[in-house]
């Protein structure tokens, strides 16, 4: 919602573009068969299109709106998402616009009880978290998508039906001029939390809804405070409640506050109540200058997911597959990881570089990640909005203790950075034996600075990467397949990379296109690498293309 007198998209800092449905010559061939259709050009749909384009696969995005999503919504983008944006060729504008941060502070009744630092060091290329409004996220992804000859976007075009046909689906679309159908080999449903495609397929999200309701309001003001996440427990302005404050670019500040049980959502959403709520928070944090209201909304904390992210030729990606509580800031970050996961897998299968069985690993990996988010986010949600007397009592006890006992303050740590480990998933080999350190199989590959000052990840090729320390193994693996499929990085056995990998001269790490480790060996052989690469590409037997 925006203040009275403002247009629906009249922002203090962002100009919403207006896109029309395909016109003129662009209408020729609307009904032509496509390899991949994507329902929804939100951030996840656009990321999926870019991930497919990276594999040389063309797609068409269909979205019923004429512009980007309204309001800033998801604002915290984590380190791993920046790696994904980098691989999609879109990270540069994000780096220029966003505000990187590492720190959070929690306060109880006005007194600081916790300051936490997320993992960061000189050996990290990206900060653990960046704040940026969702409009910018979508605008930057759109710029990258619009620049790709492999991506077509149809705005003001609504997906109204999906029907199974031989080796694909028939998609029905209604735009501003007509209704038409076209066929596609695959459909990615990136059509958001309310996912009409999900309903068309007769599928339902399952899980829990939490009690807590939060107002999110964005205000513009000159406020002198670094980009640090602030959580206020039981503050003067909201006795018994919780408030979150985040800095965003363009002098925009995100204020989240919890509604009391007796406050109705309708009442809380009224502009005068929002203004009073925000004014109370600003008073508590000592802001005395002027401020302008930009946008506000209400959300609840849910942990809902589909049992299976695949239904025949349809894959559910992003919010259409799962709704996660906001406190973990995983909504969009998780969606990006889905998009990149299905993007490379579908791309590799379509290019004949992987067997179709690879697609079966999408649900266990990404649904597993969602369930992990649920477990963590549910912890956060219970701390932020205790659902019952017992949770409330223990939360209050922890906060009260934290005033003079730092250990209790740690219970208020939101633990927002925990990339999921794809261990035990098909295609990820059991972790190599004998390692005493280094990231295990299934984990995201870590970063380090090499001796020449460059980043380890800068040497990665577009497909799989083998990190190895033995010239003979490197040479042998190079003979297996093209460098485009599998790049071999020969690294110094005593160097920084070997150190963080816990590697010796005979060790090797096989890293997938999404930077997750497919396998690692303390003592690797050509046969080991061959087998693991085969299983990580869906169990196909040969590599010559």
């Amino acid at each position: 919602m925006r203040p009275d007198g403002k247009g629906e998209l009249e922002s203090l800092y962002f100009n919403y573009p207006r896109f029309s449905a395909p016109e003129g010559a662009a209408r020729d061939g609307l009904d032509r068969r496509k390899t991949v259709a994507i329902a929804g050009a939100g951030p996840v749909g656009m990321a999926a299109a870019l991930a497919l384009a990276r594999e040389g696969v063309a797609s068409v995005l269909i979205d019923n709106k004429d512009t980007f999503n309204d309001g800033s919504r998801a604002i915290c983008v984590e380190r791993q998402s920046y790696y994904m944006l980098e691989s999609l060729g879109a990270v540069q504008p994000f780096l220029e616009k966003s505000l990187g941060w590492t720190k959070g502070r929690s306060f109880y009744r006005g007194k600081q009880i916790l300051e936490f630092d997320m993992p960061d060091s000189e050996d990290e290329k990206f900060r653990p978290m960046y704040n940026i409004q969702q409009q910018y996220i979508e605008a930057f992804l759109y710029e990258a998508a619009a620049a790709s000859p492999l991506i077509e976007i149809r705005w003001q075009s609504e997906v109204t039906g999906v029907r199974d046909i031989k080796n694909g689906v028939e998609v029905s679309v209604t735009d501003t001029l007509e209704s038409y159908t076209f066929e596609a080999d695959w459909l990615l449903a990136c059509d958001g939390g309310k996912s009409p495609v999900r309903k068309m397929r007769g599928l339902r999200l399952k899980g829990e809804n939490y009690e807590g309701r939060y107002v999110i309001a964005d205000v513009q003001m000159d406020h002198d405070y670094p980009t640090i996440r602030r959580a206020l427990f039981d503050p003067d302005c909201r006795p018994g409640g919780t408030v979150l404050i985040h800095r965003q670019p363009d002098n925009i500040w995100r204020i989240d506050y919890q509604l009391h049980d007796q406050e109705s959502t309708e009442e809380a959403m009224r502009e005068d109540n929002i203004r009073a709520g925000v004014a109370g928070v600003l008073h508590d944090i000592g802001h005395t200058g002027p401020w302008e209201l930009e946008w506000w909304s209400v959300y609840t904390a849910n942990t809902l997911a589909l049992d299976d992210y695949r239904d025949g030729r349809v894959f559910f990606v992003g919010d259409s597959a799962h709704i996660v509580p906001i406190f973990g800031v995983r909504g969009l970050n998780n969606g990006f990881a889905d998009a990149v996961n299905i993007g490379w897998k579908l791309g590799w299968v379509l290019n004949g570089k992987a067997a179709p069985a690879l697609l079966d690993s999408y649900t266990p990996e990404r649904r597993g990640a969602t369930l992990d988010v649920f477990a963590n986010a549910s912890k956060s949600a219970r701390f932020m909005t205790p659902p019952s007397h017992g949770w409330q009592l223990m939360r209050d006890a922890a906060l009260s203790l934290a005033l003079d006992h730092p250990f209790a303050g740690q219970l208020a740590n939101p633990r927002q950075m925990r990339p999921y480990i794809y261990a035990g998933c098909p295609g990820v080999s059991p972790d190599g034996q004998g390692f005493t350190t280094g990231p295990e199989a299934g984990k995201v590959m870590c970063e380090t600075r090499l001796e020449d000052g460059g980043w380890l990840s800068d040497g990665f090729g577009p497909g799989f990467n083998l990190l190895c320390f033995d010239p003979a193994l490197a040479e042998a693996v190079r003979g297996l397949t093209s460098a485009e499929n599998l790049t071999v990085l020969l690294l110094a056995p005593e160097g920084n990379a070997a150190q963080i990998c816990g590697a010796n001269a005979g060790s090797a790490y096989l890293v997938r296109p999404d930077r997750h480790i497919a396998a690692r060996w303390l003592q690797a052989s050509l046969q080991d690498v061959e087998t693991a690469y085969g299983s990580a590409t869906g169990g196909q037997g040969e590599y010559d293309d």
């Binding site: 009592l393 223990m394 209050d396 006890a397 922890a398 009260s400 006992h405 250990f407 209790a408």
Partner: protein, 64 residues
């Protein structure tokens, strides 16, 4: 070394006094904080959880 029984008795008496001082409204909070502090001091999660179960097991009416 202190005698165990005497030790427990001292805690027993101090808790009775602290609970009275806190008043019924804040007794729960006091006990919850106290439990968290003891748990942090003990540094043995398994033992603390077992003790919690023991305490909870005999709360039902008719048993003591």
């Amino acid at each position: 070394m202190t005698d165990d029984a005497t030790n427990t008795e001292a805690v027993y008496e101090a808790m009775a006094q602290a609970i009275d001082a806190a008043g019924p409204e804040r007794t729960e909070l006091l006990l919850a904080k106290f439990a968290l502090l003891l748990s942090e001091e003990t540094r043995d999660t398994g033992k603390v959880l077992a003790l919690l179960s023991q305490a909870a097991a005999t709360l039902s009416p008719g048993r003591l």
